[in-house]
Symmetry: C2
Amino acid sequence: MTESKQPNKQGKIRAQSQQKILEAAQQEFILQGYKGATVQSIADRAGLPKANVLYYFKSKENIYHAVLEQTLDMWDQGIGDIEPEDGPKVAIEKFIAAKVKMSFMHPDSSKIYAMEIIQGAQHLKEFARTYLRQWVRTKAKLFQHWIDNGEMKDVNPVNLIFLIWSSTQHYADFEAQILTIMNRADYEEEDVDQVTQFLTDIILRGCGLK
Amino acid sequence: MTESKQPNKQGKIRAQSQQKILEAAQQEFILQGYKGATVQSIADRAGLPKANVLYYFKSKENIYHAVLEQTLDMWDQGIGDIEPEDGPKVAIEKFIAAKVKMSFMHPDSSKIYAMEIIQGAQHLKEFARTYLRQWVRTKAKLFQHWIDNGEMKDVNPVNLIFLIWSSTQHYADFEAQILTIMNRADYEEEDVDQVTQFLTDIILRGCGLK
DNA sequence: TAACATTCTGACCTTTTGGTTAACTAAAAA
DNA sequence: TTTTTAGTTAACCAAAAGGTCAGAATGTTA
């Protein structure tokens, strides 16, 4: 029972190195895909020798799992929570604002997630089947309740959720295309508000809330 | 000048084999990514020996290019053409209907395209910079014209185009997630109409056209 | 049928990759 | 100081990958 270590210094190096590796790996996985990202390229990007990367994560699979987990945590935190007492207008406003913000602040998480789903959601099937499905059902019920109460137009709540997800995530996932089309090098501060404003405006009115 | 061949039989075998290879390749590229899709796996899926695949396409790069080209052709054909004389209501209806139909009928093309963009659009930068940018500008001007004429609400036309693209393509790209959440095995005929109906309804009303 | 072109294919080669190992250093505990 | 533990790294290896090639098989045409 040599349960000593980790007063502070201990886990520090570990945590730092792991984080550096995860960030590098996320980039590489996006740019090259799972198979295309090599342990060497991840190591190079992280500024570490390959063997050191394998020391912290026993295998490439493990690195990928860790990246995905980080992504799901982000999703979980960033998703604005819809609350019953908000009413439909505020709920949708909060929901859209949260998702747009996440898209602009953590586009890479969104990209990794999108690639996983496109490729068949092999690693996320369970997450979708349990967590996501439940989340959608709960929120859909809430919307349905407001609809039944005449507080908003009768639109399919599930489709509405998909609409908000897709239209907000688009700015993260399709960043390259959007910037090219608009002939811009990067997103800027005000884009977040502009997009939030636009989507909120259209969707609220679309739901008969404006 | 032995310009004989191809009265009919000639190019036939060639065309058939190539098409079989392209379909197999598209699947593999989606499922495994560019690097993950091996020439062997493409050959296996196409039911041909590897060397035969390399006989028709000199390299894996070439196969990928051919797949992308096919995808852009599809995009080009499938995009409902907005015409000035339609007016905003019909234009948006046609646009949404065309994109939804494409998403449900050719989800794989949409997926390949999406992956390319997410990964930085390396092979599509030129397409986006020239063709797409021009397309968006032309259509945006049209919408702006209608807005100036008071025929629709004052919404940002470029954002509107992005909204329609994203919300429709979502059903192709995120197929796996949507089906899992809805606890279904496959899309069905009526889904196309239902989704078209939903999106048209919300977006038209969002644009003050209902 | 003979000549020619096209299609097909197993065997082979080179390079790259994920992962292991063993040895070394640094630092913290005993 | 001695002993452990954590971290670091070059060198190595087996497997898998992309691609070549020579020659066999199968048409096509004259």
